[in-house]
């Protein structure tokens, strides 16, 4: 009974599928799908490496500080890093006093309530505060930015396919739209052509416009590529502050597990030796 109905159901589903496949195949041949324009002009992220890459990678605090400077001077007006606290900057090598000063002098203040009137107000940040958001809410963000909401950057290198190389490519990849780009795909008003962006046109104007846009205190030449790379490195850190600790812990755990597993394997071998010996004896 089960088999009888089984075969009927099986024939039904399999038949449906073969029929659908046939229709699909005819459609595919008679009317082959065209690749969307976005695909033709879209480019994969540039091949760029970071010091934190790979199983032995480490953050370069100098670079992260430079990246923080770029973030502060170029990005922070529109993009928040709301999940990061000022105190976290100590991990980049800033002293306690420096962190305090950065928090207190941050151009956007932390929302608070007036202790006397209870009305909404702001106060200078302290290290325990998270970085204040540049816009109070999404509506305010959209209103101030031509209806495009600047994404928060805390997790951006984890929240985009392609990670930090994508961020780097996007920042350093603005070009003029190619001549052969169809009219429909050309950047409209308020949009900017960037082949690394999924639909080619994004609302963000090129943020890093030219060399020496920021002045690095450590003497590094601030080229466009350098700044883009530094801020991408900084954003790797904001997305995964424990990245290096993860790798270090990982090596310790792997080393331990390797030894433990070898011991367990030897133990297994010795426990089974008798049974295997019996097998050999019988074969002989």
């Amino acid at each position: 009974m089960v088999r009888f109905f089984g075969i009927l159901i099986g024939l039904f589903f399999a038949g449906m599928m073969v029929y659908s496949f046939g229709r699909g195949a005819v459609e595919y041949i008679s009317n082959p799908p065209v690749k969307a324009v976005e695909y033709q002009f879209h480019e994969e992220p540039k091949d760029v490496s970071f010091k934190s890459d790979g199983p032995f990678g480490k953050f370069d605090n100098q670079q992260l500080q430079r990246g923080f400077q770029v973030y502060k001077e170029v990005c922070a007006a529109c993009h928040g890093i709301r999940l990061v606290a000022f105190r976290n900057l100590a991990e980049l090598g800033y002293s306690e006093d420096e962190v305090k000063a950065i928090a207190a002098n941050w151009p956007i203040e932390t929302p608070d309530i007036d202790p006397n009137t209870g009305e909404a107000s702001t106060r200078p940040s302290i290290p325990a505060d998270k970085f204040p958001k540049p816009f109070a809410n999404n509506v305010a963000a959209a209103a101030a930015n031509n209806n495009a909401i600047p994404p928060d950057l805390s997790l951006i290198t984890k929240a985009r396919e392609g990670g930090a190389p994508y961020v780097y490519s996007l920042l350093s990849g603005y070009t003029d739209a190619p001549a052969e780009l169809p009219e429909a795909n050309r950047p409209g008003t308020g949009l900017h052509y960037n082949p690394y962006f999924a639909n080619l046109n994004l609302a963000m104007a090129p943020p890093i416009t030219g060399d020496d846009q920021v002045t690095y205190s450590d003497g590094t030449k601030a080229t466009v590529s350098q700044m883009a790379q530094d801020v991408s490195a900084f954003l790797i850190w904001t997305a995964e502050p424990s990245l290096i600790k993860q790798k270090q812990t990982g090596w310790a755990v792997l080393a331990f597990l390797l030894i433990a597993t070898i011991l367990a394997f030897l133990s297994y071998k010795s426990i089974w030796a008798d049974v295997k010996a019996e097998k050999k004896k019988k074969e002989a």
Partner: protein, 423 residues
């Protein structure tokens, strides 16, 4: 329990004896996972994945209880509370990544365990009940994993919840009310998140309960083995402890090496970038797919693109997807070949390795790919074979196939010598 030559539990201490007379829990462990459980001596490494899945279930329960200490099941702060775990809680990142990757490893173990059962005919008499309980465990695990993926309340969480509950909408007449009942609203929000959290916490313990029944049922006939030949005597078995505890032990170590390599060095490799964007009910991610362990089923769902008579394609896809798993419940009665092990079934072996396995691989690949050609056509072919395999090939094969000669006993298969008097 089952074999007369099983070693008897003898409490080593006076206290042990006292306990044994009152609450024989030591005896229970001894008889189920200890020296009192005679196990076929010829099990290969495919028999390691059941215990491995158990280990990963424990990993999930332990890390999950810990995450629940810090997680907040509220749509406004769920996402931030996960980031709080990642950034501020001591070793929080480790525990979260262990939980996220542990789910994948649990399913890897489960799939290999199921695959073992499919190939070696572990579902056949007298082990049908073990198999049925196993399918129940798998269904519960899928529900648990799905609801767990919703909890971080990222973009994939939100849209996953919306799409999966949308499956129920396909049911005629009552679909829409059922979806609203499941979500507690018109779209996923606080109500859905909270109930998913509650059930995500509960179901693993239900799974653990069904696993106890699964093992209980296993101990009635005892473990199957690669030859499929039943145990004939003491010489065919070894005590589970220390022989298989040692084998499981080192194999768990090996699996943990792969697991920790994943969780410490590429913890997000199996996740989706979009889930690091907080849930946004107004914008769907460009490419929305479930976690990899659901891909084959997802491919079957998407393979149905045409209405059939009065049945819409959407409903057909949902029916097919559920049937694809439900068909396993009937497997013991679909495959009537008296030979259990695929090793001795020349034709079954070919259908298994060149039909079923590639078919599931294709379905898995297409399920993770965008809903474009040629992936849809490929998944249609693979879906056709999938149903044909279980519902047509297996029932017919068990009639026409001529199996190879079986060894007389496990011992004979191991030593290559016919059974003499047991030494």
């Amino acid at each position: 329990m089952s074999f007369p030559w099983a070693q008897q539990y003898k409490p080593a201490t006076e206290f042990g004896q006292w306990m044994d007379d009152r609450l024989p829990i030591g005896r229970l462990v001894y008889n189920s996972l200890g020296a009192g459980y005679p196990t076929p001596r010829n099990l290969n490494y495919m028999w390691n994945f059941g215990s491995l899945a158990g280990v990963f279930l424990v990993v999930q329960i332990v890390t999950g209880i810990i995450l629940a200490m810090h997680y907040a099941a509220n749509a406004d702060i769920a996402f931030d509370s996960v980031e709080h775990i990642m950034r501020d809680v001591n070793s929080g990142w480790m525990i979260r990544y262990a939980h996220a990757n542990g789910a994948s490893f649990f399913f890897i173990a489960i799939y290999l365990h199921i695959g073992r059962g499919l190939y070696y005919g572990s579902y056949k008499a007298p082990r049908e009940m073990i198999w049925l309980l196993g399918v129940v465990i798998y269904l519960l695990a899928m529900a648990t994993a799905f609801m767990g993926y919703v909890l971080p309340w990222g973009q994939m969480s939100f849209w996953g919840a919306k799409v999966i509950t949308g499956l129920f909408e396909a049911i005629p007449l009552v679909g829409k009310p059922i979806q609203e009942l499941l979500l507690g609203g018109f779209a996923p929000d606080n109500a859905a998140l909270n109930r998913f959290f509650s059930l995500h916490y509960l179901l693993p313990f239900v799974i653990a309960g069904v696993i106890i029944m699964h093992i209980w049922a296993l101990h009635i006939p005892g473990s199957s083995n690669p030859t499929g030949v039943s145990v004939k005597g003491k010489q065919d078995t070894v005590p589970f402890h220390p022989f298989y505890t040692a084998k499981d032990g080192w194999f768990v170590g090996l699996a943990l090496i792969f697991f920790t390599a994943m969780m410490f060095f590429m913890p997000n490799a199996l996740g989706h970038a979009d889930n690091y964007i907080p849930a946004n009910p107004l914008s769907t991610p460009a490419h929305i797919v479930p976690e990899w362990y659901f891909w084959p089923w997802y491919a079957i769902l998407r393979a149905f693109t045409f209405d059939f008579l009065f049945v819409p394609a959407k409903l057909l896809g949902v029916l097919a997807m559920f049937s694809a798993i439900l068909v396993w419940f009937f497997l013991p009665w679909l495959d009537r070949s008296p030979v259990r092990s695929g090793d001795y079934r020349p034709r079954f072996k070919k259908f298994f390795w060149f039909g079923l396995i590639p078919c599931i691989a294709i379905l898995g690949y297409c399920g993770g790919a965008p809903a474009e050609e040629p992936f849809v056509m490929l998944s249609q072919l693979a879906t056709a074979y999938y149903f044909a395999h279980f519902l047509i090939v297996l029932p017919l094969l068990s009639r026409i196939e001529k199996p190879e000669p079986l060894p007389n006993s496990i011992t004979e298969a191991v030593t290559g010598k016919p059974l003499q008097q047991a030494s």
